[in-house]
Amino acid sequence: MKKNEEAMIQSMEEISQGVYSLWIETTLAREAKPGQFLMVYLKNPSKLLGRPISICDVDREKGLLRMVFRTIGEGTKELAAYQKGTKISVLGTLGNGYDPDWLKDKKVIVMGGGIGIPPMLLASKTIVKDNISDKTPEIVLGYANQDLFLKEEFDAYANVSIATMDGSVGTKGTVLDAMKEKNIQGDVIIACGPMPMLRAVKQYAAEHQMEAYISLEERMACGVGACLGCVCKTVKKDFHTHVNKTRICVEGPVFDAKEVEI
């Protein structure tokens, strides 16, 4: 059930250069699934649109939900400046998220690149703690440099391989370079990250006859499928509009890599 509500900020912490960890108190925490997102609204009426931010973690018992975001424009900078105790308007939980059935009893390779890393934390946690699969997942994270935000938290769930673009830690290059170098094998890939990474994952999965589920992003206005701002191209005609495009905010953001043209 989608809801809009005022959520109290529990903490706002800069965990890396320009990367912030935000915990909010919200009833949405109870049903939040990995791969889903919230729309977060600013108080500044000149910046109207919600910021779609993925869910990084939840504490269902305490009703807390965590989002980790990068300050890119003025809007996210304003959000980062909000302090504990501030109430912010949020809408959620949005999108499909990772369906446990896709991962059931499979060896899952969890891949995150850049600011696509945060949603993979809840995904990793869910696979392990909710016993979605008894096979321990492999986690591969790609960073720009040695600033490995959230890495230690992933360590709690599975073996973590690192790729850095500058080669300062782990494999020099991308998450796929790390996967090849370490000969990481699995049944299914779930991935979130920049578009070139997702394209490479799609291609790798196709070449290796693997399943891959990738999380896409696009500029959004409503987040609930009304405005049709955030579509991606699809192989088949989509049920909503009967064209080869589908809404990332509703039918996604997580798609079977085979079904989207990116």
Binding site: L48, G50, G75, E218, G229, T241, H242, V243, K245
Partner: protein, 299 residues
């Protein structure tokens, strides 16, 4: 307190509706908004066949508003009648279907198919700035507008609202043309044509280069145009453009609008329509009015 208003013989329980393209077919917001509390739901534009719309990015944020260049992606009238209309019928609200087309024949096809459907009013989109052919071209030339209006009126079994573009030299002339063509009402404003440039990438933000500018920033333009039109034509005027609060909506009513639509703000706060409807009632009460009709065109 009387909040009913009547447009072309159709009585709405209150003057608040949704602006086309900002509320899907109603389904998308039905978990978040009690549709029974709306005067009417105006659907996203429906064409004769499915339209794929424009390339992405389709959305850009601008100061106090947004640009969109969706390009009227929609499933076409057949799917709409089969799937979306039955859903909307479950609610106690009036149904206004927004109709779009690239040619007169396409408009006529959709209008004809809706003739025997449970639809209260049609709103004809001759003002979308984001499709290359048709649409806006029908709304920027008075003679063409009068002609398309009269052709639609000839075959329509439903009352017809012509949705006007603000991207014209003289809005009064366009409203008069719609009226002369037999329109039962006019609605305005559609979005203003805008552009945003990413100075770091030195590129247009929207794939379509231009987009329709909407949101609170456009309200003064919309209020002025609604005022001009309401004082020019005899048919009812539905006012919209940047309505975020009841106070905004009341400006439109005072300017002469019989009803109002909430657009972009549905995206920001899905409860906006409900708050606007309640706020209009509170305003009437506080200022000693017993009927919303008493403030329409009061200034």
């Amino acid at each position: 307190m009387k909040t009913e208003v009547t447009i072309a013989g159709v009585t709405l329980k209150n003057p608040v509706m949704t602006a086309s393209g900002t509320f899907g077919s109603g389904m998308e917001y039905s978990q978040l908004v009690d549709l029974n509390k709306l005067g009417a739901v105006v659907t996203k534009g429906v064409s004769s066949v499915p339209w794929p719309g424009n390339e992405t990015p389709r959305i850009a944020e601008v100061y106090g508003g947004m640009l969109n260049a969706i390009g009227l992606q929609n499933p076409g009238i057949d799917v709409f009648i089969e799937r979306d209309l039955p859903f909307l019928q479950r609610f106690d609200t009036k149904i206004i279907v927004n109709v779009c087309g690239k040619t007169v024949e396409e408009y006529l096809d959709v209008v004809e198919k809706l003739g025997d459907q449970p639809v209260d009013l049609l709103e004809i989109n001759v003002s979308c700035p984001n499709v290359k052919e048709g649409a806006l071209a029908f709304g920027q030339d008075a003679k063409v507008l009068e002609n398309v209006t009269s052709q639609i009126k000839k075959i329509s079994k439903k009352p017809v609202i012509m949705k006007l573009s603000p991207n014209v030299t003289n809005i009064k002339e366009m409203a008069l043309a719609a009226e002369a063509g037999g329109a039962d009402a006019v609605s305005l404003i559609n979005t203003l044509i805008g552009m945003k440039i990413d100075i770091n990438r030195r590129q247009f933000v929207l794939a379509n280069k231009t987009g329709g500018f909407s949101g609170p920033a456009i309200k003064p333009v919309a209020v002025r145009m609604v005022y001009d039109v309401a004082h020019t034509v005899k048919i009812p005027v539905i006012g919209m453009g940047g309505i975020a609060t009841a106070e905004d909506a009341i400006e439109f009513l005072l300017a002469g609008a019989t009803a109002v639509s909430v657009g972009t703000m549905n995206f920001i706060d899905p409860q906006t329509t409900i708050k606007v409807a309640a706020g209009i009632e509170a305003y009437l009460e506080k200022n000693g009015f017993v009927d919303v009709k008493d403030i329409i065109g009061l200034v």
